[in-house]
Symmetry: C2
Subunit: 523 residues, 2 copies
């Protein structure tokens, strides 16, 4: 490793293909890559789930500069295997339970191949009509599967668009809401606009607010408590809004969440919209993670009340098998987006746009250029069908239930919040430490520090084993382990193993901490 | 066509695969897709370059809703061929000369396959160290090939990041510049910030300014003229800045362009930066299209003066064979980006980040989630090498020269602006119409309308033929045809054919217009 020398380029004896898109050569190399990736999936469980490399590992392994002459794909693939794969955290590994899933699928992969193969730039209808039309059709299909109100669909004068990520979906709708409000009160009053969320809302919203020029003092983070399972309280929202209005500020936007990142808490959409409608506040529903499962009738109630919102998004690349990136955004009033985001330079003018008979998606998003993302979503819907997609998502929830059960029946652990979907939040409970130990329980329980340290060590130890990867959150002062089930390859045996990994590492950590306690070294 | 019926789902006899990522099934379906795309490239010249479908063509061809049961890939691929391909504008067709190229390559395609196969979400170092480290390394490689000043590279305390598009690169740097300035003058003064560009700057900058909350009245568009070949004049810039300062406004950001979209004009970076440095204005250099060719020593002078700028971007998906999307952005002061764009929620905290030994690219961009784009850029650099990449780009310039020559030697046409790179801007010249016609030349030349209509008809007629696709711009009141060479499959015979297509259609249009003139129907 690291013995390649590109610093003094010599003519390679590799004969470069004539064209960079020669179909024969394309066939040969792409089939080699198919095998490489299929082999990767076949062997994926052999890799440490979380990469164990140290910062800066790669630089000494690669040449100091780009090669002067072409290199054959065979050499490059060897380097991918030797240098890149060890530096990957394997999100497709069935033992991956960190953050939220990034769930790939064959259909998602094929759709990405097609989009990359065509390599069209679908900024407006004209630039490739199929890209725009397929996107509009598929977004209506998906909206219907989710039982979104017709007002969010093209068939009901709303409409859907594929963004890259939730961050972009939030930013676009926030800018639309901002400009809608400023058109009433004057652009110079941007400093008066206030936006709302809970302390559980994703950081993407804070970032979007900063980007959109909302004054940082006007970013309201409303505290949630365990009494509402960390959902945003409509009453707290109303009192915050009222206090802002009294100060001469102008409420503009609420970001509500269905399935928060920390614990998958669900904000009560109906009651929240009942509050906001009195003030003309734009409500965006961020269901990035949990939106997917709302295609199952028995989960649909989690987005009840969405009819009162202005926009709704979920990320098909998270838990809908559509590969990164693919965030589905629906809005009731596309014209608000278009007013805020459209540009019309001469070099993009065309008859179709002038006719106003077509959708030009460049006016629904930040960027001009856009990939043909509808292709992969269409392939996922068609390859698997609604029934199978529902059943797979249900199987993830069932596996989460199983994991929860396996953990909960071990008295050393506690489940920290009620499980809504396929995320289990748990920790070693204080009682597992205090039971029969010399440490006074007040010291253990006082500020969570000691018990948090134990749980932190447990998580580090699990992840260092390479057998499972979980992440954490802090909620109500508690350090909590998150086990998010949803990787495409995960099956029941992986769940059972994950619970065993947790227990084994807890054994070691708890024995060690007991020892430390007896030795009087508690910190 | 259109005879599929999904409205009454019946159990299909297609047996769904057990896992959505089963390696055997992955191999089978992905190889089928490789063949599909290779066949597409083999046959690409048979398709009309620009799609000839009418708005709304697709809806009647597809089922009203998503299927309930799985469908086999064979059926889906048939539908792609029958329903989608006719609705594509074929950006990879060698007869594609519209907008700017979206140049694919085998290496770019393979890199995308790998990124999609791994499907990691590289928001921070921890989430997949290889993704971050490869990106930093490749951006230094590429920066060196471009002879960017060391201050833009990680090795010189600057750094590079892969964004999706130029729009995002501009927005991120604008927000960094905005916040840097507001930290001096107070957040409440956002309404005082002024941003600058020329009337040739891409509309992405206007959009970014609106998104970032710059007051629309403070968006300065400085007029260019043919006397400077539509480059921004440093003198005009200075006088605009001075007038703003006199009015108590605060100049914050200049977007300079190397290779404008209309005509590939080049703003003089050195002299512009000499102006801006007196006022602490952030200068971004947008070389989205032309940046690529600056890897050739003989073209490098077009970005001379970049050392005075704060940031520089070019889009590798345009004319660097890296498939959409992949915009390379370098900044001298990453901390300005990070200050403006970082968030640090608990659920993303980790030891590597806390150690400050790593790059967390989430803080260099709008979104949190990010694809492993470095993979395809790395594959392009390694598969082709610097020499071959230079030679291919040079061959595009040579082909543009040839096209220019073929058009210019036909006296009916004129080349409208000097050609800098591989874009030729031309039109039927007024003299081609006025020569020996009954129309008084004052009427023809007075306001360009008549001659513009002729050129517009010419372009429509070329594109309707399906044999070539070009687009237009309007410059100095003139409707101009743009022929942008750079599609990967384009070779000399395509250029010769394109010039013949232009001439044949000009024959028809000019004969027709002569007839109309003789008949006294000139409008």
């Amino acid at each position: 490793m690291g013995d390649l020398n590109f610093d003094h380029p010599l003519q390679s004896n590799y004969s470069p293909v004539e064209s960079l898109l020669d179909p024969m050569e394309f066939r040969r190399q792409a089939q080699m890559m198919v095998d490489f990736i299929a082999d990767y999936y076949e062997n994926i469980e052999k890799y440490s789930v979380v990469s164990q490399v140290q910062p800066g590992y790669l630089k000494p392994l690669l040449p100091k500069s780009a090669p002067y002459y072409p290199e054959p794909i065979e050499t490059i693939l060897k380097d991918v295997q030797h240098y890149i794969v060890p530096g990957l955290t394997h999100w497709q590994n069935p033992n991956y339970f960190a953050y939220f899933p990034s769930s790939g699928s064959i259909a998602g992969f094929l759709g990405e191949m097609l989009a990359t193969g065509f390599n069209i730039v679908g900024f407006n209808w004209m630039s490739s009509p199929a890209a725009t039309e397929l996107e509009s059709i598929v977004m209506d299909w998906l909206g219907e599967i989710l039982c979104l109100p017709k007002s969010f669909l093209f068939s009901g004068n709303g409409g859907g668009v594929l963004q890259g990520t939730t961050c972009e979906a939030i930013l676009c709708t926030l800018v639309a809401a901002r400009d809608q409000m400023l058109s009433r009160i004057g652009k110079e009053n941007i400093g008066k606009l206030v936006v709302y969320c809970s302390d559980q809302t994703h950081s993407a919203f804070q970032k979007a607010s900063l980007i959109a020029g909302i004054h940082p003092n006007n970013f309201r983070v409303i505290k949630t408590t365990s009494s509402t399972s960390f959902a945003l309280s409509p009453r707290s929202l109303r009192s915050t809004i009222c206090s802002d209005i009294q100060q001469g500020l102008v409420p503009a936007y609420l970001c509500a969440t269905v399935g928060t990142t920390s614990t998958t808490a669900v904000d009560p959409l109906g009651p929240l919209c009942d509050v906001t409608k009195d003030y003309g506040i734009w409500v965006h529903v961020d269901a990035a993670y949990a939106g997917s499962i709302c295609i199952c009738p028995e989960f649909r109630h989690f987005i009840d009340g969405v009819e009162g919102a202005n926009s709704f998004s979920f990320s098909a690349h998270k838990w809908f098998f559509t590969t990164l990136d693919c965030c589905c955004l629906w809005v009731k009033d596309p014209s608000a987006l278009i007013k805020a985001l459209s540009t019309n330079p001469e070099y993009l003018r065309n008859k179709a746009t002038d006719s106003k008979q077509v959708v030009d998606y460049k006016d629904w998003q930040i960027a001009l250029s856009r990939r043909f993302r509808a292709m992969k979503l269409w392939l996922v819907l068609r390859s698997y069908g609604v029934e199978k997609l529902r059943n797979i998502l249900r199987s993830h929830v069932e596996m989460a239930k199983l994991f929860e059960e396996l953990i909960a029946t071990d008295k050393r652990f506690e489940i920290v919040v009620p499980r809504n979907f396929a995320l289990v939040c748990f920790r070693v409970s204080p009682s597992a430490i205090s039971e029969g130990k010399t440490i006074p329980s007040s010291e253990l329980l006082g500020d969570n520090k000691y018990i948090n340290d134990i749980n932190k060590k447990l998580l580090e130890s699990i992840n260092a084993s390479g057998r499972s990867y979980m992440t954490h959150t802090v909620i109500d002062g508690m350090f909590v382990l998150r086990c998010a089930i949803g990787a495409t390859l995960t099956e029941e045996p992986h769940i059972i193993m994950a619970s065993e990994v947790v227990k084994q590492h807890a054994d070691a950590i708890l024995n060690m901490s007991t020892l430390m306690i007896y030795m009087g070294r508690v910190d």
